[in-house]
Structure formats: structure tokens, C-alpha cells
Amino acid sequence: MNFPGNLGRFGLRFVARLGASFLFLVQALAGAVKSLPRFHLIIHQLYSVGVLTMLIILVSGLFVGMVLGLQGYYQLVNFSAESSLGMVVALFLVRELGPVLAALLFAGRAGSALTAEIGLMKATEQLAAMEMMAVDPMTRVIGPRFIAGFIALPILAAMLSGVGVLGGYLVGHGQFGVDAGVYWSSMQNGVDLVDDVLNGVIKSVVFGFVVTWVALFEGYDAVPTSEGVSRATTRTVVTSSLAILGGDYVLTALMFGGL
């Protein structure tokens, strides 16, 4: 009924949360720098957010690559251009699908887990207990997770792209008989290290930063109740996904000359 009022309240809440998230980012980055010498904490988190996400990334990458192989072949064969299958599959994966899909899966698997973990630590007063033991949660809890998320996603994206290219090869060569040498050489010739691979890596680094930031902030900012943690976990997946897809457009436009 009171549309302008509600819109104003929503706007104020949005700006306040945005400000809080930036303040959190500054503290988290400071915590990350301080936690750098504590290598074992970072390794532990790399296992939690990286290694445990590998399975879903590898399986998804394989199937995505196989689908790309199928669809690519069906289209290319119309123009007798099936020899370009390797290049098409690799470009799709390295430029777009690798970073984007890996980031979406990472947000769903590792991001939600990070939010739930931090939110529950808050709800069960573990973070407050650390504070009272003169241990800064930003250094002990948030920092190592931030670094781990930042490192893990680019590696996972590279894995997804690599397995995807292999999936495309399995379909192209195994099912349709595209020559193995042609598949790999077209990929080698068509994929540029800087324009394609490096841009893809930059995207996954940016997505890793954003997803980990969102996940950790939502957990840290969660209302410390069951419902609050549940809502925060949902917000992590929704916000991260939107940020990834929106960010991908902006980055693609910047990198490939649209803007």
C-alpha cells in the first residue's frame, strides 16, 4: 500500500547492508593478511572449500564438455567444419563456462557451507568465545577461509575446463570419429593464451573473491538463530549467483571489447 515508503526502507536497508559488507571486507582482508603465516589453517580450509568441491566440479565439467561436443558437432557438421570442434569446445569452456559454472557450483557447494558454518559458529557463541579468549575471529576464522576461497576457485575452474575439453574429445572422437589430432590441434591453434586462457583465469579470480566475500559476510552477519542461518545460506547462493552472472557480462564486455 505504502509503496514509496517501502521502497525507501528497502533502499536504506540495501545501502546499510552494502556499507556493512564493505566494512566487513576491509576487516576480512586485514584478517587474511594476518593469517598468511598460519599456513596450516589455510591448507585446512583449502581442503574444505577446494578438495571437497572437486567431485561436483569434475563430474559437471565432464558432462558439460560432452554436451558441448554433441551440440558443437551437430552444428559444425552442417558446414563440414567438425574439424573445429576442439576449438569450439575449448573456447566455450575457457572463456565462459569454466569460470562461470565453476563459480556457480562453488557458490552452491562451498559458499553455502561457509555461510552455514560461520552462521552456526555465531549462533553457538563460538565467535564470541574466541573474542573473549583475545583471539580475533577475523584472523583465525575469516582470513584463512577468504584466502582458501580465493585460491580454490581458479584452480577448480581450470579443472572444470580441462575435464570439459576431455569430455568434448570423448564425444567428438569416440562417438563421431573426429580425428584426435585434428581435435587437439584445432584447440591449440584457436585458443590464445592471453586473450582466452588468461581472461578466463581473471574471471575466476574475480568470482572467487566475490563468492567468498558474500559467503563469509552473510555468515558473519547472520541472525544467530536457525531461521537466520537458513536465510543467510539462501542469500549467499542467490546473491553470489546473480553477482557471478552479472559480473560475467561486465567482465566479458570489458575483455572482449563490448564496453
Binding site: 579468549m133 583475545a134 583471539v135
Partner: protein, 270 residues
């Protein structure tokens, strides 16, 4: 020891402290002193701000006005190195124990030592086992927190709270949800550790019988202020209506049982 002597050199004090939460006033001029080396019970009805006081004393919450003092210094109002230095002299037992769920009992107790000191593992092991023995859980060192009962969790948290040998330990509702045996153990431990280690203990509780059985001094809070204080005997013998009602658990008296509401009959008929 007379009351005057007890407060000669208090370890902590609140002076005209004001605090609000979500525009609801919790304290409006709180004044109290925590005597050094004693067990002080902070009592009062639920929602009167007992736990909030511990938050202010530990620097987790900032006052709106007034000052909290601890060991001669004002408690910093913002996260800072000075606050962390101060917290190394404090221990805290949270209501739900707040053990780190991904660490074993041993590692939970070792946590402050690993974070705050450069002691070698051999020494950390000895210190942790000493503290675990004090709370009777040396044999449970390899268990995870999920495998502990409520009483055991609280004892582990107690061992963790005293592992750095703090000057003061704060207990937030340490008797809630415990069976009679566990409660008896915790009550005994608070008194025993306080005397054996020369600590100061601040026990926030609404459990009158248990609180009075171990406290040297009692503060009763309500409506954002101290409404009564004295030794447990003085408090139990008090005829002041608010104190008498709370200390004897009476439903009728100046402390309202009902949350403010419209007239009952009008409400039912509407």
C-alpha cells in the same frame, strides 16, 4: 571480611552505565563493584540485563554512557589491541559452553595456549591435562564436543576459561539445564577454583539457591539498576519488597510477572 574491606580494591566496577539495545533501555545508571578474589553473584529476573553486563565487562558491547573499569583500566569501547590485552586477564564460561565443535576436548582447552603463547607442545600438554584433571575430564580429552553431555561441556569450557590463569572468570548462567549432579559439580568447581587459583568470579544466574550457596556477595538487578546488594545472608533476610520477592521466588510483588498488555477482560471480549 567486612564489606568495607571487600571493596577496598575492586577488580571491576561499573559507574553510571547506560546501555540500550534496539532502542530498549537495558541499563540506566548501573553502579556496582566486583570485589577482588571473591565470588560475586549477579542475579535478577530474565531479561534484566545480567548477561548484557558480562558483555559490557568483557568489552563485547559498548556503553552508551558511563564507564566500566577492570583491573584499574577503563574497558576499551572498541575492538583494539588494548582490549585484547585486557581479555587475556579474563576468562568466560558461556551459557551453552561455546566449545569449538571441530576440535577435540584437548584441543579446545589448548586453544587459548596455542593462540596466545609460544609454549612448546610438551608444556601445553601438561597445562591442558592439569586443567582437565581439575574439572575431572582428563579421561575425556580425545572426545569431540558433540559426544559430551551438557555438564561435561560446561566443565571443558571451564577448563578452557582458566587455562591462561586469568584474574577474573565470568560465568553466564552456569547452572542452566544441568541435572542435579552436574549442577552440584559445577557449583563446587566454581568455588574451589576461585579459592585454589586465587581468581575473582562473577556468576550471572537467576538460580537463587545455588547462587547464594557459593557467592560472597550478591547484586540483584531489575529495571536497569541495582535494586539490592549484600552478602547472601543479608539478601535472603531482606524485607525490601523487590528483593524479598525475587529471593523467595514469589509470583506476586513489585516485579511484574506479566509482559505489559491491555486489560485482560477487554482483550478477551474484543
Amino acid at each position: 571480611m567486612s564489606e568495607v574491606n571487600m571493596f577496598e580494591n575492586p577488580i571491576a566496577q561499573a559507574k553510571s552505565v547506560h546501555f540500550s539495545f534496539d532502542q530498549r533501555s537495558i541499563f540506566n545508571g548501573l553502579d556496582l563493584q566486583i570485589p577482588r578474589g571473591k565470588v560475586t553473584a549477579i542475579m535478577g529476573p530474565s531479561g534484566c540485563g545480567k548477561s548484557t553486563f558480562l558483555g559490557l565487562l568483557g568489552g563485547r558491547l559498548a556503553t552508551l554512557a558511563g564507564t566500566i573499569w577492570f583491573d584499574g583500566d577503563a574497558v576499551p569501547q572498541r575492538k583494539s589491541d588494548a582490549l585484547y590485552v585486557m581479555r587475556k586477564k579474563m576468562g568466560m564460561l558461556f551459557q551453552n559452553s561455546a566449545l569449538l565443535t571441530d576440535l577435540t576436548v584437548f584441543e579446545n582447552v589448548a586453544f587459548p595456549l596455542r593462540e596466545q603463547t609460544d609454549l612448546p607442545d610438551v608444556l601445553i600438554r601438561i597445562l591442558v591435562l592439569l586443567k582437565l584433571e581439575m574439572v575431572g575430564l582428563r579421561g575425556a580429552r580425545d572426545l569431540m564436543p558433540a559426544a559430551l553431555s551438557g555438564g561435561m561441556s560446561r566443565r571443558v569450557a571451564l577448563a578452557r576459561a582458566i587455562v591462561l590463569d586469568p584474574k577474573m572468570v565470568m560465568y553466564d548462567e552456569p547452572f542452566v539445564g544441568l541435572d542435579p549432579i552436574s549442577m552440584g559439580v559445577i557449583v563446587g568447581l566454581i568455588r574451589k577454583l576461585n579459592d585454589a587459583l586465587g581468581l575473582t568470579s562473577v556468576v550471572v544466574t537467576h538460580d537463587v539457591a545455588e547462587g547464594c550457596s557459593i557467592a560472597d556477595y550478591v547484586y540483584l538487578l531489575d529495571s536497569g539498576k541495582v535494586i539490592g546488594h549484600g552478602t547472601p545472608e543479608e539478601m535472603l533476610a531482606s524485607t525490601q519488597p523487590e528483593i524479598h520477592q525475587f529471593m523467595n521466588g514469589l509470583p506476586d510483588g513489585p516485579v511484574g510477572y506479566h509482559y505489559p498488555a491491555n486489560d485482560y477482560l477487554t482483550d478477551l471480549r474484543s
